[in-house]
Amino acid sequence: MNIKLLNLLDRNARYTNEELAVMTGLTTEEVERELREMEDARLICGYKAVVDWEKVDNTLVSAIIELKVTPKAGHGFEEVAKRVMQFPQVESVYLMSGGYDLSVVVKGKSFQEVALFVAKELSTIDSVLSTATHFVLRRYKEQDVELIGASGDDRETFLL
């Protein structure tokens, strides 16, 4: 495992292996090997772009759904979590502490589509006791990336 590499890729997954090598002081071969090992061990689970989808299509919506769930004996929350995560509309599923159990991030083409998905697919699951849907109105920061107000470089072009 190489924390430095992970930190760099966490920031920008598109650095080339050559760049990663120079920045970490490893050889390109070492970087390739480390990455392969971390991918195999599922420390690195994927590489994705941070897209501001609102700019692509402003009708797209996402919502955070709070689920209260009856845990199954012997399976806890995992069984229902596994069921919920099968839906392609579901972007992420977390087990939460506090007032509810599962937090589910759902994406859809419209408010209605997401609302219907919750009503038809999530609330009908046996062990789901209740749902609460919170629509995302605006995303300011996503995965460490500022989506709004990212200020330009206001330093003077030259400062000796």
Binding site: N12, Y15, E19, V22, M23, D153, T157, F158, L160
Partner: protein
């Protein structure tokens, strides 16, 4: 109206930066990728900003003591001891100033009499020569060499010393060369300095930004503390350039006179900045370390990038600049920078901005994101190819 009769000819005689015209072109062009800026791209760590805000909320809006807040001076003393093993008494050996710049100016004015010579190693930061002239001193340039990693050697020092020599400016870690003077190097010149009784003004503003070892101050060399003023500050280490805060440390009788100048010219350093700086010294080691690691990665990337392009670039051991050699292109520093700017819109600073001995080199700052640096290097590659050099 002819204003020249009102102006001080000594001031008028100070040449404006020779490359001002070049800068002006760069500043008006659209889409320029600059590697020209000499200040951190990081915003001051939040803790420090918060401490500044809190001081305003608490109503600390008045002058502080001329020398600076007693608590800040005490923290500076603790910090210098734990970081560099420097021992200064917070009571009368530390003065808080408006950036390192004011400390340099006031120290030169306190030390140099008209006609006395001040040794200035170059390439180096641009203020030493004008400050010396304004104090009536005579700048004597020591041209440091790339093959010596731009360090001052005892031989160069001896050759420059005359019976009028008063002061040596020691600007390490060095802007623009990235050169550092290690303990052995300092010991060698200290011998000469002690023998010849030359006072030292050591500008250590980049002391936190050394990448291959720990910074060593000349004041740590046996017998040198008594013979030098150390200047440091918050701008580079803590990314606090806009707060304008630095300090000078030295023997009490010297500091007393520097403080006099400060007292009449300035009163005291900004109060809000002083409160913020206490937090910086006490609780921000981790933030400083993080910024340094980031600079280090960029440094490696840039050095390797220039070398790959055939522009020989030694490893800069300190500060946040690379100083690649462009002699292989057959162009002068200014010519290189101007053509690169006009052709590919990349702004570098010609080495000659930092003294004649900077000819053949350019300064590229790595106070930029990795993506920015990579884009600039790609454009430089295109430029070299279009010139038939690569």
């Amino acid at each position: 109206m002819d204003y020249s009769k009102f102006l001080n000819p000594e001031v008028c005689a100070i040449p404006p930066s020779g490359i001002r015209k070049f800068f002006d072109i760069a500043n008006t062009m659209q889409g320029v990728i600059s590697l020209g800026v000499g200040e951190p791209d990081f915003t001051t760590p939040w803790k420090i900003r918060q401490a500044g805000i809190a001081s305003l909320e608490d109503g600390h809006t008045r002058y502080t003591a001329n020398k600076g807040l007693a608590q800040l001076r005490a923290e500076i003393a603790v910090y210098l001891k734990r970081k560099y093993d420097l021992c200064y008494d917070a009571k009368d050996e530390i003065l808080v100033t408006i950036g390192g710049s004011e400390a340099i100016d006031a120290a030169i004015r306190a030390l140099v009499c008209p006609g006395e010579e001040v040794l200035i190693p170059q390439p180096s930061y641009v203020c030493y020569e004008p400050m010396t002239r304004l104090a009536g001193g005579v700048p004597v340039i020591i041209e440091t060499k790339a093959e010596n990693e731009f360090k001052v050697t005892p031989e160069e020092l001896l050759a420059a010393i005359t019976d009028k020599t008063k002061l040596l400016i020691l600007p390490y870690p060095c802007n623009p060369t990235g050169g550092v003077m290690e303990r052995e190097d300092l010991e060698k010149i200290a011998k000469v300095l002690k023998e010849k009784e030359i006072f030292v003004l050591s500008d250590e503003i980049y002391s936190e930004l050394t990448y291959t070892g720990k910074h060593c101050s000349i004041a740590c060399i046996e017998g040198m503390k008594e013979q030098c003023v150390v200047v440091n500050g918050f701008s580079k280490a803590f990314s606090m350039t806009g707060w304008r805060l630095g300090y000078a440390c030295g023997p009490a009788p010297i500091l007393e006179q520097i403080t006099k100048i400060h007292q009449y010219a300035i009163m005291c350093a900004p109060t809000t900045a002083q409160y913020a700086a206490i937090e910086a010294l006490k609780n921000c080691d981790a933030e400083v370390e993080q910024m340094k690691e980031e600079y280090d990665m960029r440094r490696r990337l840039m050095v390797s990038g220039f070398n790959r392009l055939g522009l020989t670039c030694r490893e800069p051991k300190g500060a946040f600049y690379t100083f690649p050699c462009i002699k292989s292109t057959g162009m002068s520093s200014e010519e290189f920078c101007e053509r690169l700017l006009l052709s590919q819109k990349v702004a570098l600073v010609p080495g000659t901005a930092f003294g004649k001995s900077g000819e053949g080199f350019v300064r590229a700052s790595y106070c930029y994101s990795i993506e920015h640096i990579a884009r600039a290097l790609a454009r430089i590659e295109t430029f070299l190819k279009s010139e038939g050099i690569l």
